[in-house]
């Protein structure tokens, strides 16, 4: 049976982890390689690196990061943050990333999603959607790290990116993100039921129950989380045990 995936997300800046594991005795807390290896060993199914650097030589530092991580990691990983062109995608995949995640650029230039999935295959093109609730049953897409509204309806945009060739959707609730009070289960279910590509739920994980909820009621195929894992509130291994005991199919490494 296809397992539900647990995906830790690490924020990196200029090749260093700026939001990552805090609770373990790390030799170098900023080293993406060391952090990636810890999560793989804990049983993470994939990793996401979100690059938040804004430097001029951003692409070079990202490629260098990808190369170093790919040398040690035996599980898939995605790189997102500032991916704007086919050349960006090419260089990141070529360096050893399995997927790229496109957010702002997908909204501004939907053709990028189309071209990239035709060129590299849908399976390596993830479209990230940041959405905020407008009213009871409606969510709006935001870009530029959730700072700029687009007027796009999140469910419709999700359908559109599937049509353009995206292989997966990384769906973040802006309302829930950082609250640790649970995922936006309704948003996740709406999007997941509207598309036939996998949906990764993101934003709001605080307890193992929240993850359980979004994977069952929310119909997510995978759950992404950051702080709860980085601060050791629970571990990937403990979370998977919790999910397995409640009948959610997860990979036993």
């Amino acid at each position: 049976m296809l397992a539900k995936r647990i995906i830790p997300c690490l924020d990196v800046k200029d090749g260093r982890v700026v939001k990552g594991i805090k609770f373990r005795n790390l030799r170098d807390a900023g080293d993406p390689v060391e952090q990636a290896a810890i999560y793989e060993e804990q049983g993470a199914d994939e990793l996401v690196f979100l690059d938040i650097s804004a430097s001029i030589d951003k692409r070079r530092t990202v490629v260098e990061l990808v190369r170093r991580v790919a040398e040690v990691l035996f599980i898939p990983f995605t790189v997102g943050g500032g991916i704007r062109t086919v050349e960006d995608i090419y260089s990141v995949l070529r360096a050893g990333a399995d997927k790229v995640s496109i957010n702002t650029a997908a909204v501004q230039s939907p053709k990028l999603v189309e071209e990239a999935s035709a060129e590299f295959g849908s399976q390596c093109i993830v479209v990230a959607i940041d959405a905020a609730r407008l009213e009871a049953e409606s969510w709006e897409v935001y870009i530029y790290s959730g700072t700029r509204p687009t007027g796009l309806n999140a469910v419709e945009w999700a359908r559109k990116v599937e049509e353009l060739g995206a292989g997966e959707i990384l769906l973040t609730s802006i309302d829930a993100d950082g609250t640790q009070r649970g995922y936006d289960v309704e948003l996740t279910r709406r999007v997941s039921e509207s598309v036939s590509i996998p949906v990764i739920a993101s934003g709001g994980a605080g307890t193992p129950f929240h993850v359980y909820q979004v994977l069952t009621e929310g119909r997510a195929d995978a759950a992404l989380m950051a702080s709860v894992l980085h601060y050791g509130m629970f571990t990937v291994r403990g979370l998977k045990k919790y999910l397995r005991e409640r009948g959610v199919p997860v990979r036993t490494a």
């Binding site: 995936r5 898939p76 995949l93 035709a118 036993t252």
Partner: protein, 200 residues
């Protein structure tokens, strides 16, 4: 031990080259006819699309045909699919290498596509690649098409809307629909087994 990974498409080919290097093999990425002479084993990596890969492989076709049966060939994901007669990826049928009988068809619309993530591989008893891997182990998949075939070359299967072959082996051809280089500990065993096969 020299492993040549055929560089026929854009995508993450670094991971497979790197995985073999970590296991002590001299792995290189190449798209030259000369590479076949010095190779102990050849890998068709799991990147790109079927039509693009076949059209690029056309120039190396005769060299590849020449080593079937004498040097082991590992096909990963798309690489496995290339072993078969034809594929429907891209709409109209595209001819494959034709080493194995069967055609590559889309996964049924009843399941989410791509088939993305970790799924179980069953019935692995008679597979050389899976020696030492427990039945029902999870491997990493990322594909929308599968090889529709039956019979002797099918060494293990996976269920996803349909029961499809996740490992095929036949006369020096070794194929995995999953990505061993992305499948953690069990994936590493598969690659080690392939190197062991190549060494004998």
């Amino acid at each position: 031990m020299k492993v040549v990974v055929l560089d026929y498409a854009v995508g993450n080919v670094f991971s497979i080259v790197n995985a073999f290097r970590r296991l002590g093999a001299d792995a290189v990425l190449s798209f030259k006819a000369g590479a076949f002479d010095s190779a102990d084993a050849v890998v068709l990596p799991g990147v790109g699309s079927y039509p693009a890969a076949m059209s690029r492989l056309e120039t190396l076709r005769s060299y590849l045909d020449g080593i079937v049966g004498s040097k082991p060939i590992l096909g990963i994901c798309l690489g496995l699919q290339l072993f078969f007669e034809e594929s429907l990826e891209g709409g109209a049928p595209v001819r494959g290498l034709g080493y194995l009988s069967g055609r590559v068809v889309p996964l049924p619309p009843s399941v989410k596509r791509p088939h993305m993530g970790w799924n179980q591989v069953f019935n692995i008893g008679s597979s050389e690649l899976l020696e030492g891997v427990p039945d029902g182990s999870f491997f990493y998949f990322a594909h929308s098409f599968y090889a529709s075939t039956s019979g002797e070359p099918v060494k293990a299967f996976t269920d996803y809307g349909v029961r499809f072959p996740s490992v095929v082996e036949s006369g020096g051809l070794y194929g995995t629909q999953f990505h061993p280089e992305k499948s953690g500990r069990v994936g590493r065993i598969v690659l080690e087994n392939f190197l062991r096969i190549a060494r004998r």
